[in-house]
C-alpha cells in the first residue's frame, strides 16, 4: 500500500511524546494537551510546561471500527479517554474480549503496544485497555 506520508520521521521526532506520554500544560489557562506545544492551542499563551499524562482514565466516548487499514484488525474499538489529572487521550483498544464490554464511563489504562508496521518499521505507541473492577 502506498502511504500518503512517511510516518517514521514523525515518530522519531516525537519520541518523548510517544513513549513517555509527554504533553503540555498551559501555566496561564490550565489547558492540558498532547503532544507538547510551544504555544497553548487553547489560549495562545507561550507560557507552557511539559506535562506527563496519567496512564489512568475513563472512557468519554468511543466507536467500534469495522473498516480499517490492512494492519489493524477489526473490530477495533477506539476511545476518547478523560485522563486522571486532566487531558484527553485518543487510542485504539487492546485486549478486548467483546467489543460490547466497552462503555462510556468504563475505567481504562494506557499500555505500550505495537500499533503497526510501516515501510518495514515497527511503530509502537499507547493503546487503551479496560481495567478489571474489584
Amino acid at each position: 500500500m502506498t502511504m500518503p506520508a512517511p510516518p517514521s520521521p514523525v515518530h522519531w521526532r516525537l519520541n518523548p511524546e510517544v513513549y513517555r506520554l509527554i504533553g503540555m500544560r498551559c501555566k496561564d489557562c490550565g489547558h492540558i494537551t498532547y503532544p507538547r506545544r510551544k504555544v497553548c492551542p487553547k489560549c495562545g499563551s507561550f507560557n507552557t510546561e511539559n506535562h506527563k499524562l496519567s496512564k489512568k482514565g475513563t472512557v468519554h466516548t468511543y466507536c467500534i471500527n469495522y473498516v480499517l487499514p490492512p494492519e489493524i484488525e477489526p473490530p477495533a474499538p477506539i476511545a476518547i479517554v478523560d485522563l486522571e489529572g486532566g487531558g484527553k487521550f485518543q487510542g485504539l483498544f487492546t485486549e478486548v474480549a467483546k467489543p460490547e464490554d466497552v462503555k462510556i464511563g468504563a475505567k481504562v489504562e494506557l499500555v505500550l503496544r505495537k500499533i503497526l508496521t510501516s515501510r518495514g518499521i515497527a511503530m509502537y505507541g499507547y493503546k487503551v485497555r479496560l481495567v478489571e473492577e474489584g
Partner: protein, 396 residues
C-alpha cells in the same frame, strides 16, 4: 466585522450529475461543468472578456490527482490570462473556494469571477485513500489517526449524542430516509433510490454506531458558480441570487483539545459569522443544504447552526420538521448522503441547489419559499475543525 451584503451576486451555476465517472477524467468533468455554467447565464456572458479571475477547489492529493495549481484550471477553461488560485480546505473546500471568489468581488478588485470545484474520488480504492488515513501520523501528531478513519472520527460523536441526548440509531437512520427520498427527485444525485429505517439498520456496520447507509458515498463530481458585482448582475440575468453572508469557523484539529463531543464549534462559529454578516434571524431561512457526511452529523448541524436547541434536533427530525414538505426542508438535493460528496465539488454543488431553488427552477424537488433565503453549510477537515456557512437570497 464588515458585511458583504449587497455587494455580490451569483449569475450562473453549472454541474454534472454526481456519480461513478470512470469514463470521465478530471479534465472532462471540469470542462463539462464549465460549459454548463457559462451556458446557464440567462443573458449570456463572454467568458474571456468578462471573467477576470477564478478559484479552483480540489483536495486531490488523497485521491491521486497530484499537486494541482490554478494553471490546471486555466488550461481547462482556455484562459491562462487571468489569476487563478487553488484552495484546499478539508470537506468545506468547495464552499471555501467560493468564499474566496466572493471576497474577490466584494473587495472591488474584480467584477466577475469563477469558482469551480472538482474531485475524482473513485479513481483510487478507499483502502488507498480515505481508509489509509487511519495509519499515518497526520499533522505532526504522534498517534492521530491510528485506526481513526473518517467514519470513526464521526462515530465517536454519534456515541456521545446517543449517551447525552438520548438519540438512537433510528434517529440517525431517519436522516438517510429523508435524504434518499429527496435524492430520488434530483437528477444530479449519485443515489436515486429510497431507503427505510430498517434498510439502514440492516446494512453492514462500518463503524459502530454508524452503518453503511449512515455514510455518504465516495463520488466523482464537479460544480461551478459565476460570481458578479451585485450592481452589474442584472446585465447577465433578471433573476440573480445574492450573497448575504459567508464565514469560515474553526475548532481544534485534534480530539485531545475538544471541549465536548456533541457539538461542532467550527459550525457554531461559521453560522454565527454568516448570520451576523447577513443581518437575518435563523427563522428567516426557508431551506438549507448542510453537511451530512454521516447521518449523525446532520442532526448535530440542526443544533449547531441554531435552527433548534441542543437535544431538539432528533425529535424535530422524527416529526418530519426537516422533510422536503416540512416547515424547514433540509437537503432538497438529497444531501451528501444521496447526492454525493466529491469533496471540492460538494459545497459548490450545494450553492447550485440553492440557486435553482431560490429561482424556483428545482422541478419535482422544489421547496416552498417564504422569504427567499437559503443556507449552505460544510464541516470537516482533521477533527472536523473547519466549517463554512454561506447564506444566499433572491433579494439583495
Amino acid at each position: 466585522m464588515e458585511s458583504i451584503r449587497g455587494k455580490v451576486a451569483i449569475i450562473g451555476v453549472g454541474m454534472i450529475p454526481f456519480g461513478e465517472h470512470f469514463e470521465k477524467s478530471m479534465e472532462d468533468m471540469a470542462q463539462e461543468t464549465y460549459i454548463n455554467c457559462i451556458k446557464s447565464v440567462d443573458k449570456g456572458i463572454e467568458p474571456k472578456k468578462d471573467i477576470k479571475a477564478a478559484w479552483l477547489g480540489n483536495l486531490g492529493r488523497l485521491f491521486g490527482a497530484g499537486a494541482m495549481s490554478g494553471s490546471w484550471l486555466a488550461t481547462q477553461i482556455g484562459n491562462t490570462g487571468i489569476p487563478i488560485t487553488r484552495i484546499e480546505s478539508g470537506c468545506p473546500t468547495g464552499s471555501d473556494t467560493l468564499r474566496h471568489a466572493i471576497f474577490g468581488v466584494a473587495s472591488g478588485m474584480y467584477d466577475v469571477v469563477l469558482a469551480l470545484g472538482a474531485e475524482k474520488m473513485r479513481e483510487k480504492p478507499g483502502t488507498e485513500s480515505l481508509i489509509a488515513l487511519g495509519t499515518i501520523g497526520l499533522g505532526g501528531h504522534p498517534s492521530w489517526t491510528w485506526g481513526s478513519t473518517a467514519p470513526a472520527m464521526q462515530a465517536v460523536y454519534a456515541t456521545r449524542q446517543m449517551y447525552e441526548l438520548g438519540y438512537t440509531m433510528e434517529t440517525f437512520a431517519r436522516v438517510a430516509v429523508k435524504n434518499h427520498h429527496n435524492g430520488k427527485l434530483c437528477p444530479f444525485a449519485h443515489y436515486r433510490y429510497e431507503v427505510t429505517i430498517e434498510d439502514v439498520l440492516r446494512s453492514p456496520m462500518v463503524c459502530w454506531p454508524l452503518h453503511l447507509l449512515d455514510c455518504c458515498p465516495q463520488t466523482d463530481g464537479a460544480a461551478a458558480v459565476i460570481v458578479c458585482r451585485a450592481d452589474l448582475a442584472k446585465n447577465y440575468t433578471d433573476k440573480p441570487v445574492y450573497v448575504l453572508g459567508t464565514h469560515v469557523g474553526l475548532d481544534h484539529s485534534f480530539y485531545w483539545d475538544k471541549h465536548n463531543f456533541i457539538e461542532m464549534l467550527a459550525t457554531v462559529r461559521a453560522a454565527n459569522g454568516a448570520f451576523d454578516m447577513a443581518g437575518i434571524k435563523r427563522e428567516e431561512v426557508d431551506f438549507a443544504e448542510v453537511h451530512d457526511c454521516f447521518t449523525n452529523t446532520e442532526v448535530m448541524n440542526y443544533e449547531d447552526i441554531g435552527f433548534c436547541k441542543k437535544g431538539e434536533g432528533g425529535p424535530r427530525l422524527m416529526e418530519g420538521y426537516f422533510d422536503i414538505d416540512g416547515p424547514l426542508p433540509i437537503q432538497p438535493s438529497g444531501g451528501l448522503k444521496a447526492h454525493g460528496h466529491p469533496i471540492a465539488a460538494t459545497g459548490i454543488s450545494q450553492i447550485c441547489e440553492c440557486f435553482w431553488q431560490l429561482r424556483e427552477e428545482a422541478g419535482d424537488r422544489q421547496v416552498k419559499l417564504k422569504n427567499g433565503i437559503a443556507l449552505q453549510h460544510n464541516v470537516g477537515g482533521a477533527g472536523f475543525g473547519v466549517s463554512c456557512v454561506t447564506i444566499t437570497s433572491r433579494n439583495p
